[in-house]
Amino acid sequence: MLLNIQEQGEIVKIEVKEERMDAHNSGDLKEQMLQLFDEGKCNLVIDLSAVRFVDSSGLGALVSGFKNASARDGSLKLCSLQPQVRSMFELTRLHRVFEIFISVEEALESF
């Protein structure tokens, strides 16, 4: 999975540079986040602007990151969801779990 990772002070921004998040590539995101947690970085913003499709494995990777960040008193926030991806969160009611922002800027400011 192509990821663009940038540290902005205390926060790590991960931009998913894939059209599709599924069982084939979501494991990469999960592992990348675990590595960041190991390094003590637990405030994450995941930028999904490029993502057109997410399946339950993609959601699973995000839930994993969310739980691990929370357990370390950090947080994982999402931003820039395409409408269809947003619907996917509603279908699975995960929009009630994640903090979801319109833009990267808003997500970063919210910390």
């Binding site: 599709r20 599924d22 069982a23 084939h24 499709f53 399946d55 339950s56 494995s57 959601l59 699973g60 990777a61 839930v63 994993s64 969310f66 739980k67 269809q84 619907s87 996917m88 279908l91 699975t92 009611r93 995960l94 009630r96 779990v97």
Partner: protein, 162 residues
């Protein structure tokens, strides 16, 4: 909740493909791929292309395209990872067919089966990492059945097109 429908009719033209039949509204797509998740994307795209070719308004098409892509991705992932235990020498077969305003999706695995009725009532907790695949399939499709096939099991999913 397990629901049934007559599968025989919808499949009538699979075996007779090429034979002269007077059925002008039938689309049938059968796909076989190696048992690897890297093929999820191509199958998902094929499902989207099919959705776009059906006679709907643009908005509905986009939604239907996402739904078919999703349902097929979930069912295939389960076939590849659970039923076929990620064995790359196995294969997954998928069929998509449209007839009489019914869309039918079948995913054939080579596994020993599982009790879908025990699962389908259970929704994943908000913080579970897995367990959302089958519930999604039940939410988006109108009829779902999992049963024995000649060489494993098949998940048959039906959607009524308006």
């Amino acid at each position: 909740m397990k629901k049934h429908w007559k599968a025989s009719k919808a499949f009538a033209s699979v075996n007779s493909a090429g034979k002269k039949v007077t059925m002008s509204k039938k689309i049938e797509i059968d796909i076989t791929v190696p048992n690897q998740t890297k093929y999820l994307a191509v199958i998902g795209k094929i499902a989207e292309s099919l959705a776009h070719s059906l006679g709907y308004f643009s908005d509905d098409k986009l939604e239907l395209a996402y739904q078919l892509n999703l349902v097929l991705t979930e069912a295939m992932t389960n076939a590849i990872c659970h039923a076929n235990e990620c064995d790359p020498n196995k294969e997954v077969k998928v069929s998509l067919s449209v007839a009489d305003n019914q869309l039918k999706i079948c995913v054939f695995d080579q596994g020993s089966g599982f009790d879908i009725d025990a699962l389908s009532k259970i929704e994943a907790c908000d913080t579970d990492e897995g367990g959302r695949g089958v519930p999604i399939i039940f939410k988006l499709m109108d009829q779902v059945e999992y049963k024995k096939s000649a060489t494993g099991h098949v998940l048959e999913m039906l959607k009524f097109l308006k």
